[in-house]
């Protein structure tokens, strides 16, 4: 059993949890992920490592309440435990040698983008972060991003906070202003990553995206997380989760991701009313 030592609501649908998992904390690196099961009957879900503390032996995860499992997870309180927590899995993000980087985060994807931005900042790189949300209420990790960025732009779809517009608008403006980046790291909804990649391709800037398709074992066995990169089948769990943004077949991923939409919807409706939270 893995104990929840801290729980914080970042916004009405996004929760942060710090979990006691010394083995995972010892080896975790930004960009890697874990797989957890809430209880003995639970499904396995992958979540990216948002932060870790090697000394305390804890790993921080940030999740959006979207389906039955995340509802059940969100229902647990500090001091309670989850059944399984395995990792670190996947390849860490490659940050070696990067001097100036634009980190783009979208929605709950910011939870994954933040540790990468932090690592880049710690190794002395100039970090320009652009984080986008639907509206003011959904903004997460603002302080954290500001602390590790040389420049931080917050975008909202409806203009209720920061600048109105999409992350691609801000990124485009930064590039047009003459910023030249060694790399753009984009983490967020697939559609966002697709359009960031299309934009950076015009300027020929290397772009890395983090994929999180459906996953079961997370060790390269089941093949559920497969995607096409540069015409070849890759597994997000062992080959990724980071991939070259210009080579990923996004449309295929969008199609695959919709496979269980109906099921998730039903699962959400069937879950106990106590768990229910409106997903805006």
């Amino acid at each position: 059993m893995y104990k929840i030592v801290k729980k914080r609501e970042l916004n009405p649908t996004v929760t942060l949890m710090e979990i006691e998992a010394p083995f995972v904390a010892r080896k975790a690196e930004p960009g890697q992920f874990i797989i957890l099961r809430v209880d003995e009957e639970g499904e396995r879900i992958p979540l990216t490592v948002a932060d870790f503390d090697r000394e305390k032996g804890t790993v921080t995860i940030i999740f959006q309440i979207v389906g039955g499992t995340t509802q059940r997870l969100n229902h647990l309180q500090e001091g309670e435990s989850i059944a399984d927590f395995v990792g670190p899995l996947g390849e860490p993000s490659h940050t070696d040698g990067l001097k100036k980087v634009a980190v783009i985060g979208g929605g709950v994807g910011c939870a994954i983008a933040y540790p990468v931005a932090k690592k880049l900042h710690q190794q002395g790189a100039a970090v320009h972060s652009v984080v986008g949300f639907r509206n003011k209420d959904l903004v997460i990790l603002e302080e954290e991003f500001k602390n590790v960025s040389d420049l931080c732009k917050i975008m909202t779809d409806d203009g209720s906070y920061g600048t109105k517009g999409l992350v691609t608008d801000a990124l485009k403006a930064l590039i047009e202003e003459g910023n030249s980046y060694d790399e753009v790291i984009a983490i967020g909804p697939v559609v966002m990553m697709k359009f960031v990649s299309l934009l950076t391709k015009q300027y020929n800037i290397k772009t890395v995206v983090s994929m999180n398709p459906i996953m079961i074992d997370g060790t390269g066995m089941c093949g559920c997380c497969r995607l096409t990169v540069a015409g070849k089948t890759k597994f997000a769990c062992v080959d990724g989760p980071d991939f070259d943004g210009h080579e990923v077949d996004y449309d295929e991923i969008l199609k695959r991701a919709s496979t269980y939409k109906e099921f998730e919807q039903r699962e959400r409706e069937e879950a106990c009313n106590l768990f229910k939270k409106e997903v805006k």
């Binding site: 074992d217 390269g220 093949g223 089948t233």
Partner: protein, 249 residues
């Protein structure tokens, strides 16, 4: 006088119209009477070719003789000397290409139903015997087994019987490997696998789940700071292959 019937005793099984509406095991197993009758088909021949067909060299005619005599627990003890997973092997071993393919009764008619008898003995033991296996005296050596599938469990069982301090590391949340996620319930019920793993635990085997060796701990760490003197890697052949059909992704 041996039973000279040319045919094996039929395996009782769920009727097609019943089994197509549930996920329970299809084959139901021999009754004690059927097992004893089937056991009498063994000629206890001199050459014992069946043993040569068995990868773990179970003393097949000896255990079958005990079944024929109705001494089922003794039969189990004989199997258990060389096999760590009799209830599993009795169900999923390809006996038709192994022990049974060598049986002299198969030259004319069907071979002795060795697999069904093995299954019967293991099930009888699990249902009727509360004797825990006797733990071997510890020999002070620590061994790590990576992977809790059939290879890892067998290795762990054999080592534990010789007094080694064995820890099995499993990447998933449940021990059993392909026995639990690969073989379907109607062929090998999960509770049978669980029982076999409990039998190993009783021998002193420790199982650590959620441990992806290579990620969480390396072999060097296992053999260094954790003090394991040997590591058995039974990680399985888990990499999928695709057919490269357009649109499969």
């Amino acid at each position: 006088m041996p039973n000279m019937s040319l045919k094996k005793h039929e395996m009782p099984s769920q009727a097609p119209d019943v089994r197509n509406k549930n996920f329970e095991e299809v084959a139901l197993g021999y009754s004690a009477e059927t097992a004893m009758e089937e056991a009498q088909r063994c000629l206890n021949c001199k050459n014992k070719p069946c043993i040569g067909g068995c990868p773990v060299k179970i003393h097949i005619p000896d255990f079958i003789a005990k079944v024929a005599a109705g001494e089922f627990e003794q039969a189990y003890q004989i199997i258990q000397q060389t096999s760590s997973l009799p209830a599993v092997c009795g169900r999923v071993c390809p006996q038709e290409t192994q022990c049974e393919s060598k049986c002299v009764r198969g030259i004319k008619g069907e071979p002795v139903a060795i697999g069904r008898l093995e299954r019967f003995v293991a099930d009888w033991h699990n249902a009727n015997s509360c004797d825990l296996p006797v733990k071997a005296a510890p020999n002070g050596h620590k061994v790590a087994v990576v992977g809790s599938g059939p290879a890892g469990l067998t290795c762990a069982g054999d080592l534990a019987k010789r007094g080694y301090d064995v820890t099995v590391f499993e990447a998933l949340h449940l021990a059993g490997g392909v026995l639990v996620y690969g073989i379907p319930e109607f062929r090998l019920p999960k509770k049978i696998v669980r029982k076999e793993i409990e039998n190993l635990s009783a021998l002193g085997v420790k199982v650590e789940t959620n441990m992806v060796i290579g990620r969480v701990l390396s072999i060097d760490e296992l053999m260094g700071e954790y003090g394991f003197e040997a590591v058995f890697i039974g990680s399985g052949a888990g990499l999928p292959r695709f057919m490269n059909i357009p649109g499969e992704n």
